[in-house]
Subunit: 353 residues, 2 copies
């Protein structure tokens, strides 16, 4: 089976999600329109405000379809509340557009739980995938790494972990442009005997699998920032803890660094002289540069932009959606899964469902 | 029940553990002898080499008891292999000294898995404690925080988590000198509905408990570095992932920082001017300043010094052991547990065993 490239990608954009507000979301879409001239948008939200902003977004205005709604999913809405507004809210309608074949991907900066629930309900999981996973990019000393799952599934079995590995590798091939990404399972030790039974079984299956990846076994949390693996696979609980811990430690170190530079006029001068390099460091670690978490494993692409992302960050999230469409990531995952099942290592096949 | 202070603490020291080597371990004990004049040592290891070093450690030499053994637990030994040498190895004999009442605490920088297995086997868990936990201090923007469990228990039930909270709070009262430490459970969200059933039940129990702590509910991983809570409770899998992720992110940022300062002669000069402050920052984050992980919940105190700790780090780990002895941490935990059981919140009591 050869995978046909998508030549005219369409993104359904929820213009109401996130802290940035409608004007910033549309400014981001304008930037993305410039970067990807074939990309077109469906803009879901209040028509009058969208039309006003379109005056400032000539590229977007040239092709965008506006789909009016006043209904918005709030950050405080529970997933169950949001689900009731699947057909009326800007977020729900963006997902619905993917389901109805009117768009290839939905992008929203809104409530993660609501987006996840709506996306799963409307799009359902792909054949061969039991549960979708939330994947994102993390900065490292080398290239970015993909980490998944980041909180969609608090408890995972062997099959889930194997499926996450397949999906994460496909994501890394597309977004990081790697032919055979190095994939590892996050664990509390690197020896084969460490960790839960699910992890050990998943490792055994991946070790024997014939997939377009290099399986590197287990990695510990201290390897997350090193960039020696491209895809780090874990259950949603540990993945969420790890991701947030990276954020917290980053804030800790930068907080202490700011204090350190303030201690004397000499260190203040030192800061002024080093400013350009420190700015580059900050840019390297800036979450906006790595924005765009993806729900993998659904019948359709759904990208979550971080709630606090700025215009550039949202444009990057749209870029991730564009790349996933252009590279037909869903078909790649299907192909890899079919291939994995056909050549599933015999030793563990009996135990697994 | 009033708790009697221990006036002449004795530490059984495994002089053979860790990367530092016998001379550094003994130099650390010499520093600790100076800091705590009432503290005495039993030194477990090869007598001749110990006697040679004692010539350089006058305070230690004045009171130390040397217990000869040539047998050493290696870093590569599996716990099961180590257990067979419980009575012959320097690590095993140090633990045995605690069991036999010849020392109040054992300190080793050796193989963590072996130390954990031997300590559990020889000392057994305290009444009311189902499983011991490994606790350590982490640097934050404010004071250090206690985090537990750090890898002793990969899966934990409600009771384990509650017991960890009680033990962690007692540890924080002793080592951080807090009267009512703020305690929180690590989770993937701060809302009451988030997380596993075990976490929700543990939160309900702790919320209703009358313990010398302030229960703060759930915290996410990004709060670990903030210092807004004093004790962070989690299962050993997530705790290990979080701890290692802190390490990894710290390395990532300091690696990028080093690169940043090297970009031009201007930034190099900036580095030179800021050096003193950056050194203070490094000292704040230095694992040696926070050295000394503790196995809580055993009938005896066992402190693990980090394998790569230097002399100062090992001396700090010995200091942690000293403080735990002096403060009778075991009796405090027993008292809190008895008190907790007597006033156990009725609502959840029925479900729990």
């Amino acid at each position: 089976m050869t995978i046909k490239p998508v030549t005219a990608p369409v993104i359904a954009l929820d213009v109401m999600g996130g802290d940035a507000g409608l004007a910033d979301v549309m400014a981001a879409a304008e930037i993305a329109s410039e970067r990807y001239p074939r990309l077109t948008f469906r803009l879901h939200g209040p028509e009058l405000r969208i039309r006003n902003e379109l005056a400032r977004c000539p590229r977007l205005a040239a092709t965008a379809v506006v789909v009016h709604t006043d209904d918005v999913v709030l950050g405080t809405d529970k997933p169950s509340q949001a689900l009731r507004r699947s057909r009326t809210s800007s977020m729900g309608m963006a997902i619905q557009a993917v389901k109805d074949g009117e768009a290839h991907a939905a992008v929203s900066a809104g409530n993660t739980g609501a987006l996840m629930a709506m996306a799963l309900f409307a799009l359902r999981t792909m054949p061969g995938i039991d549960r979708p996973a939330l994947a994102a990019l993390l900065p490292t000393l080398k290239n970015d790494s993909v980490v998944l799952d980041l909180g969609a599934n608090t408890e995972c079995d062997t099959e889930n972990l194997v499926q996450f590995a397949v999906m994460g590798a496909a994501f890394a091939r597309t977004v990081l442009g790697l032919e055979r990404p190095r994939v590892a399972l996050l664990n509390i030790g690197e020896e084969e005997l460490k960790g839960t039974d699910e992890l050990k079984e998943a490792a055994a299956l991946l070790r024997g699998a014939n997939l377009p990846m290099v399986f590197e076994g287990f990695v510990e949390g201290d390897k997350i920032g090193q960039g020696n693996v491209d895809v780090i696979v874990t259950d949603g609980f540990s993945g969420n803890i790890a991701l947030k811990t990276v954020e917290g430690t980053g804030k800790l170190v930068s907080g202490l660094l700011t204090e350190a530079f303030k201690t004397s006029w000499l260190t203040r001068l030192g800061y002024l002289l080093s400013r350009s390099a420190l700015r580059a460091l900050r840019a390297h670690l800036d979450p906006n540069a790595h924005n765009g978490a993806v729900f993998l494993g659904l019948n359709g692409i759904v990208v979550k932009s971080h709630g606090s992302a700025n215009v550039r960050g949202i444009a990057n999230a749209i870029g991730v959606a564009h790349d996933l469409i252009a590279d037909s990531v869903g078909e790649r995952i299907s192909q890899d899964l079919a291939n994995f099942r056909a050549h599933r290592p015999a030793a563990v096949a009996a135990d697994a469902k």
